[in-house]
Amino acid sequence: MRLEYTERQKKFRAEVREWMTANVPKQALSSFDTQEGFEQHRAWEAKLHEGRWSAVTWPKELGGRSCDLIDWLIFEEEYWRAGAPLRVNQNGVFLLAPTLMEYGTDEQKARFLPRMAAGADIWAQGWSEPGAGSDMAAIRTKAILTSDSQGDHYVINGQKTWSTRAVYADWCFGLFRTDPDSSRHHGLTFILLPLNLPGISIRPIKQLNGLPGFAEIFFDNVRVPVANRLGAEGQGWNVAMATAGFERGLMLRSPARFQKTAQNLVALYQRHREHADRDPSIRDAVLKSWMDAEAYALSTYQTASRLVRGGHIGPEASTNKIFWSELDLLMHETAMRILGARGELMPEAPEAAESAPWLDGFLFAQAGPIYAGSNEIQRNIIAERMLGLPRA
């Protein structure tokens, strides 16, 4: 055990810090759930790419830096420390890319990954359907293999919903039923498709903050070339589980983000301490927030160290999702308690400068225990796969 950075790691941190200091926008970007903000965030992805910072864990030849997970943690710490924008291409860079690298053909990697790294293609997710939420194996949207003069195509009919970023994104990845006679997790196939194909219509869904952060996608005889299939036909469930594993695991929510929020919460508390201390439970929640954010960082460093040495992520990854989503709620609920009657102000209100980021985070924190596999599903996974309790 050695809990100190090597000289090389320190140099790497200094390099990231220098670049972020010079390049992070001084003024916050508009929300990426607006057309204007989406393009601002796309431009930021391109800027990151210019500095080769958009996908540091990827191989060098694909635009990355071949960083290991410890370097990745250092990068993330500097990224959040600098107050850099949210990653509009998170679905692509952190969720799809690791799956593409594992299951994609060389041709697919060359076709998709460099454009993803450059922000040229922003990706949306296409998992859930009206009848398939927590029960993802209930997917019904069909993709039927058809041969004609234009070659082999899947013809897709059906509907996806809760598709994050789909309103403005360029591409979508998801699971489709290619064997119409199959059921549950059999007969599903992982397909990548551009969202501007004929037959696709997108209906934005407004989120709590009034912005269309996700959408319904309707498919009406949409033709997708068979070359857009990721992995073998009928193997989509396994391919998707790899993606879900990455999602729950390390990369979806790096600890630095929560450490930054905890730090901001301590500062907020200090500014309002005289009032806040009239309720001693607030001080307690502030201290707990800092401790839990540190614990999450330590846990991630420990897992990363194990993976760097060739270990694997097991079902304990499900504990991550529960821990960070509950921590995020605790921190934002505590901030709202401190802000009191100023908390409700919308961002455009003239006196909302201090409170608006907390309200925004508070609303987003409500989603944490729901998306990427609800916390109830995560608890089932922990109980059944980690503790070995019998299935219902």
Partner: protein
């Protein structure tokens, strides 16, 4: 940056785990409760055979010369099996105090070899605890007085037993008179030494609490898998599953905090005290939740003397308040986090 243990460290703790599985069955622990001292010479001899009494005694004094990081995994095992022995006070805390004394110290030359071979028991007393555990059964008392370190025989003090809800614990009020004869080390060096003791006791207790939490989780899981109601194991019901899953989450995120605190002691990190208090708070939280959830899953059985759960619950409740209760440890966290210019936020986790 490498947050992993060596193969040697892991295989030692694995060997101890397997050894205690056989040698420290709950039925045996119950037998030991019934003795006056609450301690078993046979068990002590077996622990010594495994090298545990010699673990951090320097090689020159007949020990293995290992350190804080080696102890932390062993302490998790001692917690998991609720070992009723003064091993931690003797072989970890007293050894730490003795090692710091000058080479010509009689105490050091006399006691370190006896600790290493398992023949001596040492009780350590500091006013952070109202009582001294195992004082009557000790060959030597190491006591705090005005930041000084004093050494005396139990016969030189008046000991009054205070019974604990944990049937394995033997707590004593110790009345004694400090003198030049008993003083081993002055206040100037002693102040730092006693901080070191509080921090090492803190890591040991945190690690034991982790082990206890894991044991209570395992007992609850086993019970839920076997006990049937409505024609099914109760562990197949989500309400029961989720109780136990919550405990697993707490343990997962307490473990790295505890292990980092051990490493901070091993390397003399200037924020070691902060790291230890963080470890104490999260390990205590994990153990208390494990107790609460496991008794709930056990139903009425969990409230009985007969079910083994009680010995781990009571140990956890008792240990959690010794060598600094949650009030003490939270105050140390607050002193750091709420100080002006505190190093908080991303990129500060491992800074000095």
């Amino acid at each position: 940056m490498d947050f992993t243990f060596t193969e040697d460290q892991l295989s030692l703790s694995d060997a101890i785990h397997k050894f205690l599985m056989v040698e420290a069955a709950p039925e045996l622990l119950r037998e030991i409760w019934e003795t006056e001292s609450g301690r078993s010479a046979e068990m002590r001899a077996k622990l010594a055979d495994q090298g545990l009494t010699a673990l951090s005694v320097p090689e020159a004094y007949g020990g293995m010369g290992l350190g804080d990081l080696d102890w932390v995994l062993i302490q998790q095992e001692l917690g998991y099996y609720a070992i009723p022995d003064s091993l931690t006070a003797t072989a970890y805390l007293a050894v730490y105090l003795s090692k710091a004394l000058p080479e010509d110290s009689k105490l050091k030359a006399h006691w370190l070899p006896k600790i290493a071979d398992g023949s001596a028991r040492v009780a350590v007393g500091h006013p952070i605890n109202p009582f001294v555990a195992d004082a009557a059964n000790a060959s030597l008392l190491l006591l705090w007085h005005a930041d000084e370190l004093h050494a005396l025989r139990p016969e030189e003090a008046t000991l009054t037993l205070n019974a604990s809800i944990d049937s394995s614990r033997r707590l004593y009020r110790v009345q004694w008179t400090p003198s030049d004869k008993t003083r081993v080390c002055g206040a100037e060096q002693g102040r730092e030494l006693w901080q070191g003791v509080i921090n090492r006791a803190g890591v040991a207790i945190s690690a034991q609490l982790l082990g206890l939490a894991q044991r209570m989780l395992d007992l609850g899981t086993d019970y839920a898998a076997q006990r049937k109601q409505f024609g099914k194991p109760i562990g197949s019901f989500q309400a029961v599953k989720h109780h136990l899953a919550d405990v697993a989450v707490k343990i997962e995120f307490a473990r790295p905090v505890v292990q980092r605190a051990a490493q901070s002691l091993a390397t003399g990190h200037p924020r070691a005290g902060l790291h230890v208090s963080h470890a104490r708070l999260v390990a205590g939280e994990a153990a208390r939740l494990a107790a609460r959830k496991s008794i709930q899953v056990h139903g009425a059985m969990g409230y009985t003397w007969e079910a083994d759960l009680q010995m781990f619950m009571k140990r956890a409740w008792a240990l959690d308040a010794t060598w600094g209760d949650a009030i003490f440890h939270k105050a140390r966290i607050a002193d750091f986090v709420l100080a002006e210019g505190a190093a908080l936020g991303p990129a500060e986790t491992f800074t000095h």
